[in-house]
Subunit: 358 residues, 2 copies
DNA sequence: ATGAAAGCGCTAACAG
DNA sequence: CTGTTAGCGCTTTCAT
C-alpha cells in the first residue's frame, strides 16, 4: 500500500522538470522534447502513474456518466433495455448509473437528487406510471444536461424520445387473429395511464374496424394491476359471458398467461376455441403450455439507440451545437407460437424456437 | 439557460463577503454570524445556487459511487441482486454504476478500466465464469478501493464475500426427494467451473450418502451450457438408460424445465414416475406445467447485504479503521410445487403461490 | 522546448 | 465572527 497516489508533481520533481512538461509528455501534446518525453513516460510507467480522474472531471466539468432511471430492473423488457444502454455506452467510454423508480414519482424525484452528486452528463429515463410532473427533468435540461425519454414518454416536455410502435404491434397481433378466422376478439388492456396501453388498445380497435368487425365494449377488460391472477379472472369472466370470444389479444404477457390457464381450466381448447396472443414476449412466454404467441419489442435495440442519442446530445451541447429533438419509433415483430396456430403448423420440438413475421 | 452555474464566488461578491464565509453559512458550520448566515442563505436560494459536485468530489477524493460488475443483467437472479444493491445504496446516498461482463474476463477487465474514470468508491463483483486471474481486483484494493465478492466468488484474493448456502440448498432439495420416497435420484449440474456448481453437487452427494443411498456416476450429467435444450437432451438420455431415475435434482431451473418437457414427451408422469426439482426459482418456474419445485436463493437480500458491507468498508477505509474480511453465507429456502408433490397436496389454484419450507 | 502563473470550486487552517 | 492563504491535480495560457 503506497502512502498516496502519485501525481504529475511527483514525476516532475523526480525528473527535475516542471509539472506542465510532464502533463504534455503524457498527453501527446506538441511542444515537447523527444528525449524529455521518453524519460517522463518511462518514469510514469515505472511509478505506475494513474491520472486522478477526480481532477480531470473537475477541470472538464464532465463525468462521462449517463444516468438511467427505469421503473423496475427485475423486468424482462427493462433489463434488456438496460443491457442495450450499457453496451452502447461502453463503446464511447461512458459509464451508466442506474436507478429504479418502482413506479413512484417521489422515488424518481429522489433519484434525480441523489445523482446530482455524481453530475451525470445526461439522463435516459422511462417515466414511472405516476409521474405527472416533469419539472425535475426540465430542470436538468436547464442545466444543460440532456434528457432522452424511452418507452414511457410524455408530451409534457420537449426532448428526444424512443418508443416502439405499440400501435402497429397491437394491430398486427389482432390482424393475425383475424387472419386465422377469429371474428370475436377480446382485449385485456395494461395499466390504464401509460400511452403504451392506449396505443395497444388503439391498434386493436383499428384492426377490427379495418376488417369490418364491430368493436364490442363487452369484450374489452380494463386492467390496472398486471398479473396472471388478473388475466385469469378476466378471462373467466369473458368465458362465462353470453358473447364468448374466440380470440383474445392481451396487452401484456402475464395477463395472457393467466388467460391461458383460465381457458384450460374451463375445458376449452387453445387455439381452436379461443386463440391467445400477448405482448412483450417475456421469457416465460414459450414455457407455458401451449407456448404463447406474442409481440416482441425491440428492447435491447431501444436501449442502444437511447445511448447513442444521449451521447450525441451530450457532445453537441459541449460543442455548443444546436440539438434538435427527434422521436424514434422502433418496430415490433410477431412471434408466432402454438397459442394461436396450434401444433399442426409448428414442428414438434420447435416449441422453444421462433417463427418471426416481418 | 444561465450563462454559467453560479458559485460561492458569485454569492460572495454580491454580498461583499468572502468566499469561506459563504461556504460556512451554507454548510451549517459554527463561527458564522446569524445575520450574515441568513442573508447568504437567502441569496443562495434566490439565485438557485447548487454546489458543484465535481469540485466537492475532487476535494474529498470521493465519488459516492459503488461500481457493480455482474455477468448478465437479463437474468432473474442477478437483476434481483442489483435491485437489492441499488435500494440499499440509495439509503446511504450512494449511487450505483453498473457493468456486465457477459461472462468474459476481457470484458470484466475493460470495465475495471472504464470506471476508473468515475473513480468508484468501492466495487461489488460477481466474477465471470472465465475469470482466473484477479490482479485487476487486487489492484483496486491496493488503491484503497474495497472489493466485495458476491455469489461467484474466488479464493484467489482476500475480500469480504457474500454467498448463498448452495450446499445446503442442494442438500435440502435432494433430501426433499428422498423424503418423498425417491431412491434413484439423478443430478444435472450447472456450468462446471463456478464454485456454486460444485457446492450444489456436493450437497446432492452428501444427502444421498447421509441416507445410505449410493452415488451413481451414471445418474450425474455434466452440463456446461445451461439451457432448456440441454436439460431436455440429458433427461432423455437418463430415461433411456437401464437404470432409470425416479427423481432428479437440476442445478438450474432452465435445465429442470427441459427435463420436465422430456419426461412429459416420454409419456411418463411427474412426479409419480420421476419427480423434478430445480434451483434458483426463476419466474418461469411456476409457469411450467407442472409447476416446478425449486430452491429459492435470497437474491435481493444478498444484494442488500453486499451494499451495506461495501459502504461499511468504504467508510472504514476513509476513517483509517482496520477492515476485517467476512464471508456471509445466506440461506436458501425450498419452494415446493407440483413437480415434486403432485397436485394432491396443493390447493387447485395454488399453482401460482408458494409453500415455503424453513 | 520548457517553465511560470493562473484557475476550475470548494474547504480547512490560521490569523485576526 | 470573518477574512486571508493555501491547496486538492490537472490543463491552459503566456512568457522565455
Amino acid at each position: 500500500m503506497s502512502k498516496h497516489n502519485i501525481s504529475l508533481k511527483d514525476i516532475a520533481r523526480k525528473l527535475g522538470v516542471s509539472i506542465p512538461t510532464v502533463s504534455r509528455a503524457l498527453n501527446n501534446k506538441p511542444d515537447i522534447g523527444k528525449e524529455t518525453k521518453r524519460k517522463v513516460i518511462e518514469l510514469a510507467k515505472a511509478l505506475n502513474y494513474e491520472p486522478n480522474q477526480f481532477a480531470i472531471n473537475f477541470k472538464n466539468q464532465q463525468s462521462y456518466i449517463i444516468g438511467v432511471i427505469i421503473p423496475k430492473i427485475v423486468h424482462h423488457f427493462f433489463s434488456n433495455v438496460i443491457s442495450g444502454i450499457i453496451t452502447e455506452a461502453e463503446k464511447s467510454g461512458y459509464s451508466v448509473m442506474l436507478f429504479q423508480s418502482n413506479e413512484s414519482y417521489e422515488s424518481e424525484l429522489k433519484s434525480t437528487q441523489t445523482f446530482k452528486r455524481s453530475m451525470i452528463d445526461g439522463l435516459i429515463i422511462s417515466l414511472s406510471d405516476n409521474t405527472h410532473n416533469v419539472d425535475h427533468l426540465k430542470n436538468l435540461q436547464d442545466h444543460k444536461i440532456p434528457v432522452v425519454l424511452i418507452d414511457k414518454v410524455t408530451d409534457m416536455m420537449e426532448a428526444s424520445k424512443i418508443v416502439c410502435n405499440d400501435y402497429k404491434g397491437a394491430y398486427d397481433a389482432t390482424q393475425h387473429l383475424i387472419s386465422l378466422g377469429k371474428r370475436n376478439i377480446a382485449h385485456i388492456t395494461g395499466a390504464r395511464k401509460p400511452t403504451t396501453t392506449k396505443e395497444r388498445y388503439r391498434g386493436y380497435k383499428d384492426a377490427l374496424i379495418a376488417n369490418g368487425l364491430p368493436v364490442k365494449e363487452g369484450l374489452i377488460k380494463y386492467c390496472d394491476l398486471i398479473s396472471e391472477d388478473k388475466g385469469y379472472y378476466e378471462m373467466k369472466n369473458l368465458i362465462s359471458q353470453d358473447d364468448r370470444p374466440d380470440g383474445i389479444f392481451c396487452a401484456t404477457d402475464p395477463t395472457a398467461i393467466g388467460a391461458i390457464n383460465a381457458i384450460k381450466d374451463s375445458g376449452l381448447q387453445i387455439p381452436k376455441d379461443i386463440a391467445v396472443i400477448g405482448f412483450s414476449n417475456w421469457n416465460m412466454a414459450y414455457i407455458i403450455d401451449p407456448p404463447l404467441s406474442s409481440v416482441k419489442q425491440p428492447d435491447y435495440e431501444m436501449g442502444e439507440k437511447a445511448s447513442a442519442l444521449i451521447i450525441e446530445e451530450i457532445q453537441n451541447i459541449r460543442n455548443e451545437q444546436p440539438i434538435t429533438f427527434k422521436t424514434h419509433v422502433m418496430e415490433t415483430s410477431l412471434i408466432i407460437r402454438e397459442s394461436t396456430v396450434g401444433k399442426k403448423d409448428l414442428n414438434s420440438r420447435d416449441v422453444l424456437n421462433y417463427k418471426i413475421i416481418e
